[in-house]
Symmetry: C2
Subunit: 439 residues, 2 copies
């Protein structure tokens, strides 16, 4: 490799927690990273908004600059760690346009503008690396892009948001309400002051979009990703799940399947609270950890597990990508383009089949079970299990009973119509709980 | 990428289960694999020993040949799936010498002759891929080589042999003896007619050697890997582990640490039955599954989980490597050499610190605990926990008690001396169980 040894100039955009960590490690670990890359790696600068701001890791002040544009022009590898859409998008396009490889952890940007960025990279034969954009240091992008490139991924189910996993895990292990668990997550620094992006599933939806696009060789638009957060998950739901040997997790689900309306093969990408058996490997992801379960035709089920966030963890993934970029520069030739050859259509949620777990309070009187069963059969939804539990007293003073019904796989649209019909049925006091089931 | 589109000739060596699967998928999936590679992939032949043997997947007879040498000369990518040392070694050296990239699943060959093969590849700028050599389709080689290239791996603990995991899992879940569990593994096809390579830990030691070399950027010789199989693991040990909230797994442990004798940083690579808490992520790997736990300085603990064997699973990993090789041919330039820059010495087992779990039967008489405690302190081994359990009647008719002692981390040599001294102590009726503890 010595013949090809050269010096590569690395620019870091962003001086926040991850940016400062990455820059610091590039300086401290230059010799080791160089040995692994087959190239010298020189940090030529860190573009920041405020030269005087405090940094989470020590950086020589002469490396700091507010002029990202000039910095980019001198770099072989540009590491974008600013986050957000602009100016990140413009700067990455500038970097790729100049022939530099780009490493980014920017999930929002990839989910919203991925195809534009990948096209820009392909035009000049540069490469865009983004291992850190999903599940931080857990290798998931590279396994999907490279290790499984000779296989066909059929389904991904990922716990890809640490904040919501922490909240649901606290609710499960301590019996907390959603509000109490969120307060604890905020106090411990797992949730941001405005937790909307996490608890409403926006963050998970961006990651689902990235994973689905990569796994199925298809540019999945973010607006095709169905998204439901965890704010409606109640302590009662968690308790009921527990009793039946299940646990509720916010899953990003990416599935290759057939559109029941058109019969065409397509991709369903969705984020929602999901009931899974406690024996499922994903159920073992506790606290703020992430876990991604991947099923492929030949490989069978695989699982990847670890911390899904954190400055050091994200820096690990970013630096792995920097070494890959450096090796590519040493090898020469164009990067590996993002493959979208499959170009599968998105399947609307209504055309996807799900199993539902429905809890009902019904009047405790003769003929109720028959009436309920009829609602399901009228909508062509088949019941897998039905449990009737302890009856109580309804608001009107009459006796009531609780039914928990799990359906076989049924179209989402049929399932929703069934739930609506149940709610409108005179024997039903109320529908208390509807959850999708996996695993 | 279109400008660089070219046709690449792929040769497969070996027509066994995996070879036939790989060849079959190369034929069936040529278009899809081509789209992902940016190159056409043409299977030019499969070298076999016997042209008339039955194949596990249908292959056109005109592709079969017994002349591996001629086939190699025409190939851009050679896939070696014959197994064993010779003629695999000679053929791979021939292929690399001719400038072809090589994909192999041959763990024995890599463990014994890895440096020779990597050197041959580096001399001509070719690349040797071997994702399938460890844990089949579970991506572990690529995560270590690429994803964690910017981090420092500190420790790997892997369940890398499915046969022994199946046997230990049967013993744990059904209370079977080792012999009964082995018989079941044989009946179900999880164990070979001669199970020595699996149950004596040879297979796991080869994989440990490969993982340790890769993770620590050091050529670890196979003879430096300490190896202990599972034939001595008894139903009683399994039961005792269960009672204390542990489980026994055969672990391949690769650790960066310091040689207590020389003070130098080094690598300890060892395979032995290990007591781990049931709450450890590795404890969840049941049946014949594999799981690899990797701890790195910045990334923290990661785990990779899935099926560790099987024709389809191995073929998945092999084809992922074929796509990587094809992409590299499209990009041009030399491959990524195997990095051995760290060149760390191996640490002999005696200089490694372990925690031990020791079960003793002792005479139930005054002063016994003091005598036992003294043996430990005399050898500078500190006791973490001590449990005395149900006493019984010794062979001589006198009362006995059982002690289970877990030590703090202590030098292997000291630990062994302690066990020898315990066995020789007059208050000790017998040492019934010694296991190393992790997690």
């Amino acid at each position: 490799m010595k013949d090809n040894y050269r010096d590569l100039r690395v620019a870091v955009l962003g001086g926040g927690t991850v940016g400062a960590q990455v820059a610091h490690r590039l300086l401290e670990g230059a010799a080791e990273l160089g040995s692994r890359s087959g190239a010298g790696l020189s940090l030529i600068g860190v573009a920041v908004r405020d030269l005087t701001a405090e940094r989470s890791a020590p950086l020589p002040s002469e490396l700091l600059t507010t002029d990202a544009h000039s910095l980019i022009l001198q770099a072989d590898i540009v590491v974008e760690l600013m986050g957000g859409i602009e100016p990140a998008r413009t700067l990455i396009l500038e970097a790729l346009g100049s022939g530099a490889d780009v490493v980014t952890a920017n999930k929002a940007l990839l989910a919203e503008h991925g195809p534009e960025l990948f096209d820009a990279a392909a035009r000049v034969g540069a490469q865009l690396y983004y291992e850190a954009a999903v599940a931080a240091a857990i290798p998931i992008i590279r396994p999907l892009r490279d290790s499984l490139a000779g296989d066909r991924v059929t389904k991904i189910m990922g716990i890809v948001n640490g904040t919501t996993n922490f909240i649901l895990d606290q609710m499960d292990s301590k019996g907390l309400s959603f509000d109490a668990a969120l307060a604890e997550a905020t106090a411990l620094g797992y949730a941001e002051a405005d937790p909307t992006a996490d608890i409403e599933g926006f963050d998970a939806a961006q990651k689902a979009c990235i994973l689905s696009s990569l796994a199925f060789h298809t540019a999945v638009p973010l607006e095709d990703v169905y998204r439901e957060g965890i704010t409606a998950v109640s302590a009662e739901q968690i308790e009921a799940a527990k009793k039946s040997g299940h646990v509720i997790k916010l899953l990003a689900i990416c599935e290759r399947s057939f559109d029941t309306a058109t019969g065409r093969e397509g991709v369903s990408t969705r984020v929602h609270p999901t009931l899974i058996p406690r024996s499922h490997p994903l159920a073992a992801a506790h606290g703020a950890n992430n876990a991604v379960y991947v099923d492929a035709e030949a490989a069978g089920p695989l699982m990847f597990y670890g911390a899904g966030a954190g400055g050091a963890e994200t820096a690990s993934a970013v630096l792995g990508d920097v070494v890959s970029a450096a090796r590519r520069h040493v090898a020469g030739g164009p990067g590996v383009g993002e493959s979208t050859h499959a170009d599968l259509p998105s399947i609307p949620l209504d055309h996807v089949a799900s199993r539902l777990n429905i809890s009902l309070v019904v009047k405790d009187q003769p003929g109720v079970l028959a009436a309920i069963a009829r609602v399901f059969s009228d909508h062509d939804v088949s019941v897998e299990t039905l449990h009737q539990s302890a009856s109580g007293e309804g608001a009107s003073g009459s006796e009531t009973a609780t039914l928990v019904i799990q359906t076989h796989s049924a179209l989402e649209a049929r399932g929703r119509e069934t739930v609506d019909a149940l709610a409108a049925n005179p024997v039903v006091v109320g529908v208390t709980n509807v959850l999708r089931v996996e695993g």
